[in-house]
């Protein structure tokens, strides 16, 4: 059973999403909120597995609420609902700690998959978003005529990159690949350096752009 909290200041949309979610047998909507502060209270009270929240909300916006939730409840996964498909918004959501990003125009179709994917520890993006990210990335690479930095990575580093982007911890990665934690950490550092990235959110975005994850 996946326990879910829903937050959107638009009541009709929230009610619609709720009734959609409740049709799934393994889903349970444990709380609802109309603004960011209420969402924090609900999460504190119910500690849900997955939070689905709008970005623009009164009192406290979704991004700010998300970063507080993931600090306080590391096991809770957050999916952000947004009207925007641009990478700047995606990156901001990722930096805030969200692991799923859904555009509202296709929310109803992808929400179930998104919740299940995120609950399993992986990242999820609306197909239109990841398509856009990949498309932009490919164009930029072509325009600049730059050698794709992905080619700089060794096969082992590529494996590690995918596992990090999917939200696995160093320990999990070490187990999956049969390596020591230190080796995984070294790989992680090398990957960030080779790709010119600074943190995991950027790395996830990169992985989506490259089509390593979707």
């Amino acid at each position: 059973m996946i326990r879910i909290a829903l937050a959107d200041d638009h009541t009709v949309l929230r009610a619609g999403l709720k009734s959609l979610l409740e049709r799934q047998r393994d889903f349970e909507v444990v709380g609802e909120a109309g603004d960011g502060r209420e969402l924090l209270r609900v999460v504190d009270d119910t500690t849900p597995d997955v939070v689905v929240t709008d970005i623009g909300m009164p009192k406290l916006n979704g991004t700010e609420a998300t970063s507080q939730i993931v600090t306080k409840h590391p096991k809770t996964r957050v999916i952000m609902l947004s009207m925007h498909s641009d990478e700047a918004y995606v990156l901001r959501a990722l930096k805030a700690g969200a692991r799923g990003y859904l555009v509202k125009e296709s929310a109803e179709a992808d929400l179930m998959t998104a919740i299940r994917t995120v609950h399993s520890g992986k990242a999820f993006f609306s197909p239109s978003v990841s398509a856009l990210l990949v498309e932009d990335y490919v164009r930029q690479m072509r325009d600049r005529g730059v050698e794709d930095s992905y080619e700089l990575l060794s096969p082992r580093e590529r494996e590690v990159l995918q596992l990090i982007a999917e939200g696995q911890s160093n320990k999990d990665i070490a187990n999956v690949l049969g390596l020591s934690i230190y080796t995984v950490e070294t790989h992680r550092g090398n990957i960030l350096q080779k790709l010119g990235l600074h943190n995991v959110p950027e790395l996830i975005l990169y992985a989506v752009r490259k089509g390593v994850i979707c």
Binding site: L20, M83, R139
Partner: protein
């Protein structure tokens, strides 16, 4: 309204035309100079004539006096002892007559200039001479009766008389000379006075002219200055109005964009979710379900349109995420729509700019990229935005066909210049055919911002 009031404040145009004053003054000075020159020439001629007359009168009188003296000396000599030079006793009356004639001529030569004292002296001289001449025959006779040793008394008396007359003649002559000198002197003084007066008059007119012209120049300058001020003020006001209009428009766009995006978009999203719920409750494979699916896809399309319209009106990231993400998004959008390679490089610390600056820079880049896509036939364009302590530097550089900035400036560039001008910045467009185009915008960092940085 304020503009209209200020327009009426233009100061009155100067009453006299400066050129007219100048002409009148010059003509006047020329006239004064001509008149005084003519006067001087005339006076000099007159003086010369007068001095000639005085000199010739003096010479004539001197000659007459000399003749008189000679006559008297000759008369004093004895025909017996001095022979030829002495006057014969029989000729004495004739000589007397001649002496009187000489004195008459002398008197006539003095003319009107002879005053009473001179006349008196002349009369004295006349009577002295008459006396002398009357006594002359007696003296001669006495001398003849004592030919060997004439009595010293008579000789002495005779000599005294002659000496007295001679002195009288000399004095008269000297007086005449002095008088002539004084006359010439007076003439000179008069001439000098006239010259002085005419010079002073010219000088006064020149000064008046200078004063008049300086006044006129000053009035004209003040007039021009006031007009210049008015123009500057009007331009500033126009800019302020344009700026306010721009701001109002931007605000309107922001509201409309938000309205579309947040309200309409959310409602449509809710409708979509509702449709999905209905769809899932429907029995499989019915015509209604297919119809519902098509309505859903229509709705999704509409949502995308609304999102696009809202973004064109005013990209929400400009308010949500800041200038740099908005610029980068703009670059990606242009690249996506036009196939142009767009590179956007920007300092992340440009984010704390006031809204007017963010909007201005965003719109400039939008306009510049629009120009590149529409006119430049470029394959790539680079946007760079950097900030220092003092200035913000924005550069948009393309590799297109270029143009001549001096002669073919389009509306887009004018719009950019206007926006930049309102924030006291500078636009530099570098381009020439086949060399691409670079637009460089420099803006002063706003005062508040600069303080925050320090």
């Amino acid at each position: 309204m304020r503009v209209m009031e200020d327009r009426t404040k233009i100061i009155a145009k100067p009453l006299f035309s400066g050129r007219k004053i100048l002409w009148v003054g010059c003509v006047f000075i020329l006239a004064v100079m001509c008149v005084s020159t003519a006067d001087v020439i005339y006076s000099l001629r007159k003086t010369a004539a007068k001095s000639d007359a005085v000199v010739s009168g003096f010479r004539q009188r001197s000659r007459l006096l000399e003749t008189l003296r000679t006559l008297m000396l000759r008369s004093a000599l004895s025909p017996d002892s001095d022979g030829e030079r002495a006057i014969e006793s029989s000729d004495l009356p004739a000589a007397h007559l001649q002496a009187n004639q000489i004195l008459e001529q002398f008197g006539a030569s003095l003319g009107a200039s002879g005053d009473e004292a001179t006349q008196q002296r002349l009369d004295d001289l006349k009577s002295s001479i008459n006396q002398y001449w009357d006594s002359l025959p007696i003296i001669r006779e006495q001398n003849a009766s004592h030919p060997v040793t004439p009595p010293p008394f008579f000789r002495g008396a005779e000599r005294r008389q002659i000496r007295h007359i001679a002195r009288q003649i000399m004095e008269l002559n000297r007086e005449q000379q002095d008088r002539a000198g004084a006359q010439l002197h007076a003439e000179h003084d008069r001439l000098q006075g006239e010259l002085l007066i005419s010079s002073l008059l010219s000088l006064a007119v020149v000064f008046a002219l200078i004063a008049g012209i300086s006044y006129r120049i000053k009035t004209t300058e003040r007039f021009a200055e006031q007009q210049y001020k008015d123009v500057v003020q009007a331009r500033a006001e126009l800019q302020t109005f344009a700026g306010r209009l721009e701001q109002a428009q931007e605000e309107e766009r922001r509201n409309l964009s938000r309205e579309l995006h947040d309200e309409l978009g959310q409602t449509m999203a809710a409708a979509l979710v509702e449709l999905s719920r209905i769809e899932s409750e429907m029995p499989q494979d019915t015509a209604a379900k297919a119809q519902l699916a098509s309505v859903k896809s229509e709705l999704e399309g509409s949502m995308r349109s609304i999102r696009d319209i809202a973004l064109v009106l005013r990209p929400s990231m400009l308010d949500d995420l800041g200038l740099v993400p908005a610029l980068k998004w703009q670059g990606r959008e242009v690249a996506r729509r036009s196939g142009l390679a767009v590179r956007v490089e920007a300092d992340d610390d440009c984010e704390s700019l006031p809204d007017t600056y963010r909007t201005c820079i965003y719109r400039i880049v939008q306009e510049a990229l629009h120009n590149v896509v529409k006119h430049a036939s470029a394959t790539s364009v680079a946007v760079s935005f950097r900030s220092t302590n003092e200035t913000l530097l924005l550069t948009v550089e393309d590799n297109g066909k270029g143009f001549r900035p001096a002669s073919e400036k389009g509306m887009g560039l004018l719009g950019i210049e206007e926006r930049v001008g309102r924030l006291a910045g500078l636009v530099r467009v570098t381009s020439s055919p086949d060399k691409g185009t670079t637009i460089q915008v420099t803006l002063p960092v706003p005062a508040v911002e600069r303080e925050e940085v320090r």
